[in-house]
């Protein structure tokens, strides 16, 4: 499939990109159904009684969920946007973007955003790479394969709160990690209160998430057409070439999804940090959620709203960018 010509106004190109996202979503969300839908492109035609009935039924089934989601998520989010634009909930003076500027200049916010970003930039590629390695190992001939799969998946089921004591034993100043490293002559590090504070958390994050990612990659690998691989082998391609040029390309949508999920999970790492270090962690462990929690405590709605809106916009941009990247790389595989 060739890319459409890159001409026309920017608006047109944005619309095109939007269509591509739509196509991608539809491909992912409903597979065969989109074809059925395109059979009837005449959306503006008068609806037959049958169509009217179908629409009514459809909305009846949808209503509990749509009402609930609107009440608990969507409508209050509009209020959040409104709050982020006024000076205080009593006077309701419209102040433009000054709340955003205030939050963006807030040192605690910057620290939290920086730490969260730093953590994600290290943890997400590691989570994707290592789980891909595990999946590739698991894909080949291996004894006790299903046993191994269960072992790798089990950390996902263990509540974080259950293993924090073990992590504390490992990474305390007098803990096991230091005893172990001491054998190689390394000095003692107070892991959770030093520049290395993110290391134990990254390990905990990987421990919990690798199995989940591995399952996704295993499913992706199993979906690669066998004949492609056989042809490559007949053409005497090396395993290395097969991996990079065929498998990784076919996995591109899986890699996208695993990256998105890892990113989202890396935003949730507050949970691990909170359980291990409480309300006031070491500086480099001060995450976005810590900032939000503290702001909740002071009930500063304006700060809270502006921060939430900024995060939402950031997430939409990141996820959109990932989708577009995947679309560009994975397009010719259909």
């Amino acid at each position: 499939m060739k890319r459409p010509a890159e001409k026309g106004s920017p608006i047109k190109r944005i619309r095109e990109a939007g269509n591509r996202i739509n196509r991608f979503l539809r491909r992912n969300a409903d597979g065969q159904e989109s074809a059925a839908r395109e059979e009837n492109p005449d959306h503006n035609a008068k609806h037959t009684p049958k169509e009217k009935r179908e629409r009514r039924v459809s909305w009846m089934f949808l209503s509990p969920s749509v009402i609930g989601v609107s009440v608990f998520f969507v409508l209050p989010f509009f209020v959040v946007i409104y709050y982020s634009l006024i000076d205080n909930p009593v006077q309701h003076h419209f102040v433009g973007f000054s709340n955003y500027i205030k939050v963006a200049g807030n040192s605690a916010f910057l620290q939290a955003a920086g730490n969260t970003l730093k953590f994600s930039l290290v943890a997400v590629p590691l989570a994707v790479g290592l789980s891909l390695l595990l999946a590739v190992v698991m894909e080949q001939k291996l004894p006790w394969k299903s046993r191994f799969r269960s072992f790798f998946l089990s950390p996902m089921m263990v509540p974080t709160a259950s293993v924090i004591m073990i992590w504390q034993i490992l990474f305390h100043f007098n803990g096991l990690a230091n005893v172990f490293l001491g054998h190689f002559g390394a000095g003692k590090i107070d892991w959770l209160k030093s520049a290395y504070a993110q290391v134990p958390i990254i390990l905990l994050f990987l421990w919990k998430n690798l199995g989940y990612n591995m399952i996704l990659f295993m499913a992706g690998l199993a979906n690669i057409p066998r004949d492609q691989l056989e042809v490559a082998r007949l053409e005497s391609a090396t395993e290395f070439q097969i991996f990079w040029l065929i498998k990784v390309r076919y996995l591109s949508s899986t890699i996208l999804f695993v990256t998105i999920m890892s990113l989202i999970n890396s935003f949730k790492v507050f949970r691990e940090i909170y359980l291990m270090t409480g309300d006031y962690p070491y500086g480099t462990l001060y995450m976005m959620q810590h900032f939000m929690n503290n702001t909740f405590k002071s009930l500063d709605y304006q700060k809270l709203s502006a921060a939430a809106v900024m995060l939402a916009v950031f997430m939409v941009i990141v996820i959109g960018a990932l989708f577009l990247t995947e679309d560009r790389f994975g397009r010719d595989l259909e």
């Binding site: 608990f72 709160a161 499913a219 005497s236 929690n293």
Partner: protein, 334 residues
């Protein structure tokens, strides 16, 4: 594969060729180590690679299982043994330093196997059981009712389609991808308006209407062939009958998978109770576990084990569903 490797049997180092997955011949070994006969037969190479893979997988498996095993064995130790092993680490927690051993002492097998901790947790101190009950009472209604709301909504999305519904479904996906830092602010506002702050409803309601199950189930339902519905329609089944007797039974596997994923997620929750519940009495076990102080640390291990028994049971009986659910989430299996 055979021909190609014979064609190129010379050239390239041993390691490179091994990585490339070629059959190794005796020429591949350094001259010094080259055996007299053809030692690296195809079978031997295959075995050698399998051993390497098994070792790699085994190494990861040990790393993954160690924290779980340690938690279990520690829960069987007497308080004296725990403080002798980890005295340095947990003694610091409430400010009192009790020097028992300089460094941490890792032990896998307890000196005396004692179930005293469990006896204390389960019978003598009801507060732990209270928190366990809290965790339970949050999770079960959320899983049950989110599935109920979602199965209705998914039927609405999957059975008939329209442009507006398509847009709403896309909005659900975006909402699903938002981190807690964003969604908790609207949740907090609504809880405030409805005066359900500090009650269980503040956790239940946003949980029940969370869009995750809708997204998953819709994908699942869209794979049910349309002809099944049409056949039922011709036989004179009403919409509700089609839903309960055709659609839902076909989704049994999907419902189980989603229930497991939801269960893990809410069993492990920390962020929501911290913000929506200021009353400690209502906190689930996850938050409570991190607050257990040093002199009760041996109890903490027992509580941790009790806390992970339920998810582990779910895992034991539902691993296939869990894997299926993860794969569905990835949208790989279309």
């Amino acid at each position: 594969m055979k021909e190609s490797s014979m064609k190129e049997s010379s050239g390239g180092g041993f390691f490179r060729r091994w990585l490339a997955g070629k059959d190794l011949t005796r020429e591949d070994l350094p001259r010094k180590e080259r055996p007299a006969g053809r030692f690296w037969t195809k079978n031997r190479v295959e075995t050698a690679r399998m051993v390497v893979r098994t070792l790699l997988a085994g190494f990861f498996a040990v790393l993954f299982l160690l924290p779980i095993i340690l938690t279990v064995t520690n829960s069987l130790m007497t308080p004296q043994e725990i403080s002798a092993n980890y005295g340095m680490i947990f003694a610091k927690r409430n400010g009192v330093r009790v020097f028992i051993s300089e460094t941490v002492n890792l032990k896998f097998i307890p000196d005396i196997v004692s179930f005293g901790q469990y006896f204390k947790v389960l019978i003598l101190s009801p507060e732990y059981l209270m928190k366990f009950w809290n965790s339970f009472i949050y999770v079960v209604p959320i899983v049950v009712f989110q599935l109920a709301v979602a199965s209705l909504a998914s039927y609405g999305f999957a059975r008939y389609r329209g442009r507006v519904r398509e847009v709403i479904f896309f909005a659900y996906i975006i909402l699903m991808l938002m981190p807690y830092q964003v969604t908790l602010v609207p949740n907090y506002l609504v809880a405030n308006w409805l005066h359900i702050m500090d009650t269980r409803w503040a956790i239940w309601l946003p949980g029940i209407f969370s869009p995750f199950a809708v997204y998953m189930l819709t994908k699942y339902m869209r794979r049910i062939p349309r002809s099944i519905y049409e056949a039922a329609e011709i036989d004179g089944a009403g919409e509700w009958q089609i839903f309960t007797q055709i659609c839902l039974p076909n989704c049994r596997g999907g419902l189980a998978s989603i229930a497991i994923l939801l269960f893990i997620d809410y069993w492990n929750m920390v962020e929501q109770p911290l913000i929506l519940l200021t009353n400690d009495q209502l906190h689930p076990l996850s938050v409570f576990l991190s607050r257990i102080n040093a002199d009760e640390i041996s109890l903490a291990f027992a509580v941790a084990v009790i806390y992970m028994v339920l998810p582990m049971m779910v895992f034991l009986y539902g691993e296939e569903y869990l894997v299926e659910g993860i794969v569905y989430q990835g949208g790989i299996k279309e």
